[in-house]
Symmetry: C2
Subunit: 132 residues, 2 copies
DNA sequence: AACATTATGTAATAATATAACATTTAGAAG
DNA sequence: CTTCTAAATGTTATATTATTACATAATGTT
């Protein structure tokens, strides 16, 4: 069960925007979109983003400097994320594949490192873009 | 076998610096370090980095905006990369694990996407930092 | 030699992200 | 319900990362 976090005003505005967009959004595009709601400075956006990432409501797509709403309701915190990214249309979706997440969460090598988190990004062409 | 690319002057200067550093380096830190060799502008650095990434001599650590020399001589191009990152000391190493790379290269789901590339970043504490 | 491709040089600027400081709000503890 | 603390907000300035645009030079190919 996902713990219910009471989002603050700015956090809620920004989460709702990203969630409704259905895809990845960049920080300054978020800023532009929430200025009418009184959020005027980059830092206000980044602070909300940081918190939303921390509690697992959104994830950062590192290769794109963009943020997407978590599409996996069972994901309490962002400690094991996997995405598929179309290099043509830039569509992003979160992969929820139990076998994959188990495999990666249990991965260990001989480095002596204990892995507590991972992020995986797959790249390719989506169905639509392939057939063009 | 890795194809021998004849690196240009700037590419060679920048690759040698990253390679000798033994770890990840950031673009503007690279710039600072090569100014005495006549490379004066960010763009000169980014152009060399782009090319070096393209031919697989270096990889970008997306979560850190940093670049590291490829530690895997059989890696011709950067299409399948995995790294372990210590969140305390920021040490990064490239993981070369045949089982892992096979598993990920062959991964497919029901999205209809054909994955041609992936990047995986594991986070945790390295041996040294764990014992502190 | 002519051409195409790749690399370089330079200046300006765009895009992404954080530091520092003051104030306010929301919860928890008494 | 008041005192305390942690979290969130507001604001300005600035740091960091990366690209656009345009001119020139070097390299490789036919």
């Amino acid at each position: 069960m996902q713990k219910e976090h009471n989002l603050s005003k700015n956090q809620k505005i920004i989460f709702d925007l990203i969630d409704k967009s259905g895809g990845p959004m960049k920080a300054y595009s978020i800023l532009f979109n929430v200025q009418k709601k009184g959020i005027k400075a980059p830092l206000q956006v980044y602070r909300a983003l940081d918190k939303l990432v921390e509690i697992g409501k959104i994830h950062k797509i590192e290769s794109r400097n963009a943020f997407i709403a978590c599409q996996n309701s069972s994901c309490q915190v962002s400690k094991a994320t996997a995405f598929s990214i179309c290099e043509s249309c830039e569509n992003v979706s979160e992969i929820s594949n139990l076998k994959l997440s188990k495999y990666l969460s249990n991965f260990s090598d001989n480095s002596g490192m204990k892995y507590s988190k991972y992020n995986l990004e797959f790249f390719g062409l989506c169905k639509k873009c392939k057939s063009k």
